[in-house]
Symmetry: C3
């Protein structure tokens, strides 16, 4: 690998994958606590909230990877990596809140959406600038 490799994006991606593994483990522990045996996914409300909190993180994870990497490759690696760290914190707040009550999932969820909005906007700007430069010789 050259010295210009995206170490920060790779590092944050790996950390986020480990974080997702940790959340999966939390669902496993909740199964034991509430005696919900696989393949069953219904049970006491706290288990169901824990299960759905993880599912929501699973649904959004590839979207996060796409927006962080496009932002990092076409706008700024440092900004994207910082956004990725905030995303992980947002998901942790969301998960912990959702386990307690459905309503407490909202602050973490809004922070998640804010990170997506920021990463997507910066990535769009970077890609459009690149396309303009490469295909239309417009220099911003």
């Amino acid at each position: 690998m050259g010295s210009d490799s995206p170490f920060l994006l790779a590092g944050v991606s790996l950390l986020s994958a480990l974080h997702m593994g940790y959340l999966a483990q939390r669902v496993g522990r909740s199964r034991m606590t509430h005696k919900v045996l696989p393949p069953c996914v219904t049970g006491p409300p706290e288990f169901e909230r824990t299960f759905r909190a993880h599912q929501n993180c699973v649904e959004f994870y590839p979207l996060f990877l796409v927006t962080m990497w496009t932002c990092g490759m076409f706008f700024s690696e440092e900004t994207a990596a910082a956004g990725g760290l905030v995303y992980m914190i947002a998901r942790q707040i969301y998960f912990t809140g959702y386990v307690r009550s459905s309503k407490k999932r909202l602050p973490g969820f809004y922070l998640t959406l804010a990170v997506f909005a920021a990463l997507s906007l910066l990535a769009s700007f970077g890609i459009l600038r690149g396309v303009g430069h490469h295909y239309f010789h417009i220099h911003l």
Copy 2:
């Protein structure tokens, strides 16, 4: 970033991530319309179809990213990006159809499979050509 960066693949990936976000929002709106409160995922048939339509898109999304990027990196970026746009249209037809009735999910689903088949075949050809070139000095 160099001027040979995969702008088209990045652009279509970002668009597809935003499209997935839009489909997630459709599930959220369906929750409100049918009064299905999180973490519950069962309810009136239309809600359940909307929920499953989104889940199917979630299940296939990483497969789409892998096939589009390998096709784009090892066969042709323009072809892969065009395939990616058709994929998004296919998923939208699938989702809209599935919300109406289970049977109406099929045309969009078959188009989805066709895009997967095309992207996978071209990607396989490109990778095998590259491996032959790089490891066995076979030039096609």
Copy 3:
């Protein structure tokens, strides 16, 4: 594409995407065998185990891609690609076992976790070495 392109990682990624497509097809066939019509996801125990086995593979798939690619880009492409092949075998053992009984999912699941642990550790080492080299001029 240059001749130093990650053909092995791309090839294993494409194979793993096709494998995931095969597992999705197994769920579809199980729907037909057990007469569980979409969007329904509950039914006879064997169907529910098949459905959950696939869902678990879906949940872990992006984590697999992140750990394999970071290991491959920052530690060793050959090692990561070999790990990726073992991962696919582990998931197949898991899936086949889970379809038979909930308990039989465990050997494949533990092998899956072992591959994750190995890929993550090697990727972490590679990224930290790269960061040390690039940002702090430490050469290992």
